[in-house]
């Protein structure tokens, strides 16, 4: 469903010279895949994620999503694609404070024309196991529960692709494992998942691992063979 070809991204910095963060990146992710992106800090993972998520544009190269090239699309169309095809999960959860779980999960539906938003939000929260916490504020939830609300928000428009940038980065071990289980479940249900992680365990659970080093992408493992995780010792 996703095809990157020759993607380059250069940040112009006023003080120092330009910084090329992505170098000729090629990546094809099929429907239903579960891909982990690993790599050292500053290697360009988040930059790649922003491009994949249509929050940022590449300087050159082709990006096709479901066969449609996004390079020339106007901002409004990109927003619509984000709304319908992509769900984001962030390390910092990014929930609205003093806004209950249902209201947080409803946010993507403000910008769509879906009917019955409240019911959809409740269904999404039930799917992530928060059926009992519908009216709770983020301040009243544990980190793991907050991240589940964020996942429910990513799921509420029923997107095919989930993009997660270090989703376990702010979670304790147990919550992190819970979340991995949830991702496994979503993938089993047929959703495409791309997750950036420093977490060895999370990368292990992905069916495929790619690595970015200094802006260059290399394939690490392309099977569900979990023993491949030993290759990632340096990442963690």
């Amino acid at each position: 469903m996703i095809r990157l070809k020759g993607i380059n991204k250069v940040y112009k910095r006023p003080d120092e010279g330009p910084l090329q963060v992505l170098k000729n990146v090629d990546l094809t992710v099929g429907k239903g895949e579960y891909v982990a992106i690993v790599g050292p800090s500053g290697s360009g993972k988040s930059t790649l994620m922003n491009i994949l998520g249509l929050l940022d544009r590449a300087d050159s190269g082709d990006y096709e999503i479901d066969g449609q090239s996004v390079a020339g699309l106007p901002a409004g169309t990109l927003a619509k694609l984000r709304n319908t095809k992509i769900g984001f999960v962030f390390q910092q959860f990014h929930l609205l404070p003093r806004t209950n779980a249902i209201e947080n999960v409803e946010i993507p539906l403000i910008y769509s024309n879906a009917d019955n938003p409240e019911q959809r939000a409740i269904d999404a929260l039930k799917r992530v196991g928060l059926g009992e916490r519908l009216k709770h504020y983020p301040e009243e939830l544990s980190g793991g529960q907050q991240q589940r609300v964020a996942i429910a928000r990513a799921l509420v428009t029923n997107p095919e692709l989930i993009l997660a940038d270090e989703p376990t980065g702010n979670l304790d071990k147990v919550s992190g494992e819970d979340l991995m289980g949830l991702f496994d479940q979503l993938n089993t249900d047929g959703r495409t998942i791309i997750v950036i992680t420093h977490d060895e365990k999370l990368a292990e659970r992905a069916k495929r691992v790619v690595r970015i080093d200094n802006g260059q992408l290399t394939e690490v493992r392309q099977s569900s063979n979990r023993s491949g995780a030993t290759q990632m010792g340096e990442v963690a």
């Binding site: 998520g53 409004g76 927003a79 984000r82 709304n83 003093r98 806004t99 946010i107 539906l109 910008y111």
Partner: protein, 403 residues
Amino acid sequence: MNLKLLFAGSARMMLRHKTRTVFMAVGIIVGVSALVFMRAMGVGAEQAMMENINRTFSTSSINVLAGGGHMGPRAGGPVTTLKMEDFQAIEAAVPGVALWGVMQWVPKQDIRYQGITRQMSIYGYSDKPEAVWQRGIIQGEYFSAEDVDSASRVAVIGTNAAAGLFGTEDPIGKQIQVGSVPLRIVGVLEPQGIDTHGSDKDDEIHVPITTLMRRIMNVDHVFGGRVVLDNPAKVEAAAKQISALLRERHALAEGEPPDFVAITPKLVQDIVGNANRVLGRYLPAAAGVALLVAAIVIANIMLIAVKERVPEIGIRKAVGAENGQINFQFLSETVLVALTSGLMGAALGIIAAVSYGALSTTPMVVTPGAVLLGLGAAALVGIAAGVLPARQAAMLDPVAALR
């Protein structure tokens, strides 16, 4: 876009940031309530003035005054060319004259009663003064046509004048003295309060015009007169005929300025209406300043709010909000605050105006127009204050916002 969700979110935002909301609201509440209150005062004053005018200048009458200018005193002494005969000629020549009367007056005369002296104006009227000048008698009676014919030494007196001279005693039959002329009180005038020139209409006496002209002032001209027509529709045409007739009778040459003025109700309303319109511009200007300050305050608070809400805006964009939708959302938040405050301000203004009207003698009239004006102004403030912050929010780069 789901507006219901969006507005629900905006309402939550307002409630969640109570202090911020209150700060945004205060200016608008003050401005709008002041606007509604002042407008109520303005309309009240205008209506009171119009009522006053309609009482003194009924819609079917023309006031003819000596002199080409206004009703006040003139430089170079009084114009003496307007006579009672002029009005007799008008009655004969102008069709549709139902009634007419003439008037002369003299300001600030010493009126004596026993040991007391009181200064007051004396007005002289011809017969049927109640019908012509629309002012009745609450005790006794007005002087009669015979009194006018024979220049009788009788007078009717205003309530304040009577109280000043006679205290609580019955004024009827009392003998007062103007210079060497004794006058017998035959009636008490209906109270009328302060007129548009600021003089107390209840501190004067009325006598037959003949008595005033021959016995007190020793003049043969009148100050003016009133011609009442049988139909208001005839007023404008009659005024033209009166002007032509008087020019001819006073032997005025072509192009010479008139030595009289014929005032029609329309003319008066135009003049007063104009004065009120000027007044109506200054009053809301004060409220306008309050609203301008409110707009600046709101714009600044919203700009700060946008800075605080950067991650929120990033999230909204990430989940699919278009720039235009973010823009609309922030703008509608400001407008929502502004309109809510506007409603509160309007309610406050109405309550203040009605209470003030009830507790004081100032006439206050709240009109739907004033309330709509207030709400419109509030919405305008919301839009004006919201445009810039909303634009900033919409232009935020989501990647930077989420970092």
